[in-house]
């Protein structure tokens, strides 16, 4: 289990991590999500004791990283920044790490087999491709057969096969009861890998819940309705406070407004759940061809969650206002 309590880190006046608290439970893959510059890597460095926090404490299985006796046997970490000497062979890189933990040399061969680098073990790491370096990093993380894994952007630079390999590896390791925290700025990758999500923006916690809940909660729910009697249904829904927009299909070539095809219109309804729309239609005998609640993708959920918390203020907000907006949005969501 990884626990972060009130972590804060300031780099030369710039707040990278801002009173961040969360817990990472064993037995599942926890995704650590946020836009670039949100503080994911910094948080991991604080947990791993590479940087010292300005406030707060991070523990792994109840101990600070520096208090772990043979840390690589408890915690495996893959950092985004490279940490291999290009002139040293993969085998020797793993060997010096193994020796520092009192692990036998045979363990080096085991992890080389695990990541499929056995054939190039004697080659200098400087000759490796990005994907091979990433695999070497995973091998180093797995060296001590750790119960806790922290991986910073592990799929960066991997081809689709490598991405699939990492995804399966992480899921498999989680089923063994290990604690796994994996950071990414790729929401869709997290949607299929992570069971639980911790979302941060500008160093602050935005969301901490099951992946499904994050998707379900974050975007405004909408319902897609197809009906030949759009005008009446629109009137009924708006009378009860729902909002209706015509959507879905593009504007046709003859200039007719989009959403009408063969007399059947597609409506997007917000502010009213699907069952109530169905009841209204039934009571007024309006024919429905389709009534389907729309689930936001994780991508959309993420964009909404972190909008205004992006590092470079892409939405034109002044940075301070943007941070406030994100906090307010998070608070709003929490109360829902």
């Amino acid at each position: 289990m990884i626990e972060a309590r009130d972590l804060t880190k300031v780099y030369s006046g710039k707040v990278a991590v801002d009173h961040l608290s969360f817990t990472v439970q064993p037995g599942r893959v926890t995704g650590f999500l946020g836009p670039n510059g949100a503080g994911k890597s910094t948080t991991m460095r604080l947990i791993l004791g590479l940087d010292r926090p300005d406030s707060g404490v991070a523990t792994i299985n109840g101990k600070r990283y520096a208090e772990l006796p043979n840390p690589l046997r408890t915690v495996g970490a893959l950092l985004e920044a490279k940490s291999v000497h290009g002139g040293r062979s993969a085998a020797n890189h793993l060997l010096f790490l193994a020796q520092s933990q009192g692990l036998p040399k045979s363990r080096v061969d085991e992890v080389l087999d695990l990541v499929g680098l056995r054939d190039v073990a004697a080659k200098r790491a400087g000759t490796f491709s990005l994907g091979m370096n990433q695999r070497l990093g995973i091998a180093a993380a797995m060296l001590g057969d750790p119960q806790v894994l922290l991986l910073d952007e592990p799929v960066n630079g991997l081809d689709p096969e490598g991405v699939l390999w990492i995804r399966n590896l992480l899921k498999y390791l989680a089923t063994q009861g290990r604690t796994i925290l994996v950071s990414s700025h790729l929401m869709n990758e997290m949607a299929v890998t992570a069971d639980h999500l911790i979302v941060i923006g500008r160093g602050k916690l935005i969301a901490d819940s099951a992946t499904q809940d994050v998707i379900a909660r974050s975007s405004e729910q909408s319902v897609r309705v197809r009906t030949p009697d759009a005008a009446r249904l629109t009137g009924l829904i708006e009378a009860e406070g729902g909002k209706v927009s015509r959507g879905g299909e593009p504007v046709s070539a003859d200039g007719v407004a989009g959403g009408v095809a063969g007399g059947v219109a597609t409506l997007i309804v917000t502010g009213m759940p699907a069952p109530r729309i169905g009841e209204l239609a039934a009571s007024a005998s309006v024919v429905l061809h389709e009534l389907s609640p729309q689930l936001a993708s994780l991508e959309e959920a993420f964009m909404e969650l972190t909008s205004g918390s992006l590092e470079f203020g892409e939405h034109g907000h002044p940075p301070a206002a943007a941070a406030d907006g994100a906090a307010a949005a998070a608070a709003d969501r929490g109360s829902r």
Binding site: R45, L48, G49, L50, D51, R52, A66, L68, P69, N70, P71, L72, V75, A77, L79, A81, K82, S83, V84, H85, G86, G87, R88, H93, L95, F96, L97, Q99, S100, Q101, G102, L103, P104, S106, R107, E110, D113, L114, V115, G116, L117, D119, V120, S129, G131, M132, R135, A140, M142, D145, L158, D159, E161, G162, L164, W165, N168, L169, Y172, L173
Partner: protein, 292 residues
């Protein structure tokens, strides 16, 4: 991906991931750390090359300089210009032999000492090292001990080799033997000097963390400061000069205390050790405090 294994979604890691019985041993001790640092040193070409360069340069220059001076002995004496040097060689042939190659050879040890820690920062290995050994003092201590042991063994071999090769060449002009007073101490002491100087360079590397800056600083301390202090007026320069780490440390390579030396051989070596200990202490303090 050239090295990819076929992906098997069923369980890509089941057999190899688990720890075999042998892997679940007890807590790693300082001995394991020393072994780990030894692997680090020997597994990088630049270290091996620097050490080979040290051996070749030191022995090579001792032989070359001694051979040239011996061959031109009479001409140097007759011309009068080289007479001062001859007086020095005759007074302390062992000291001359120890200085002839070490003057240049010591720079390879300085560069290696600084590189040992600065390349950890430039390559990012420092992060892997500190994840493995989060208590940073033992990491630097193990690195220093392994480096010192490697340099000590090699430097003693090089110093004795230089002495025997050089004294054989010099024999026709100035016979000198290991059993002469102070000579054995000078030869052994020069190896000690090189070892401690290497540690000083390591400490500077830990302080500065950047290769170019650390090497420039060490070379400045070893080569430039003695020249600058020599330019200072009056006895000021002489006193400062005597307590510079390199100047003080090299006194141990002299078989006899020379006129004008402010410190004895062992006092000078002690001054070098104090400089090194201070710099190492500051290096450890900063290593523990700074973000990696």
């Amino acid at each position: 991906m050239t090295a990819a294994q076929p992906v098997s979604p069923a369980g890509p890691v089941s057999p190899p991931a688990g720890l075999t019985g042998t892997a679940a041993g007890g807590r790693a001790g300082f001995g394991h750390l020393l072994l780990s640092e030894w692997t680090k040193i020997r597994s990088v070409r630049s270290t091996v090359w620097a050490l080979i360069l040290f051996v070749v340069i030191t022995i090579g220059f001792t032989v070359l300089v001694t051979a040239l001076i011996t061959a031109n002995w009479d001409r140097g004496r007759g011309g009068g210009g080289g007479g001062g040097a001859h007086v020095g060689i005759i007074a302390d042939p062992a000291g001359f032999l120890m200085g002839a190659g070490v003057g240049l050879g010591q720079l390879t040890i300085c560069v290696l000492g600084a590189l040992l820690i600065t390349t950890e920062y430039s390559t990012g290995v420092i992060r892997a090292s500190l994840l493995a050994v989060p208590r940073r003092t033992p990491m630097l201590a193990a690195k220093a001990i392994v480096f010192a042991a490697v340099v000590l063994v090699l430097a003693e071999i090089v110093c004795f080799s230089s002495f025997f090769a050089g004294s054989a060449i010099l024999h026709s002009r100035v016979p000198v033997s290991l059993s002469d007073p102070g000579v054995a101490r000078a030869v052994i002491g020069t190896g000690l000097y090189l070892t401690v100087l290497g540690l000083l360079a390591l400490a500077v590397g830990a302080l500065i963390r950047h290769t170019a800056g650390a090497i420039s600083t060490v070379i400045g301390v070893v080569l430039v400061l003695p020249i600058l202090s020599g330019l200072l007026p009056g006895s000021w320069g002489a006193h400062i000069n005597a307590y510079l780490p390199q100047q003080a440390g090299m006194l141990i390579s002299h078989a006899h205390k020379q006129a004008g030396d402010l410190l004895s051989a062992w006092q000078g070596f002690g001054v070098l050790c104090i400089w090194t200990a201070l710099l190492l202490a500051v290096g450890i303090y900063l290593l523990r405090r700074r973000d990696a």
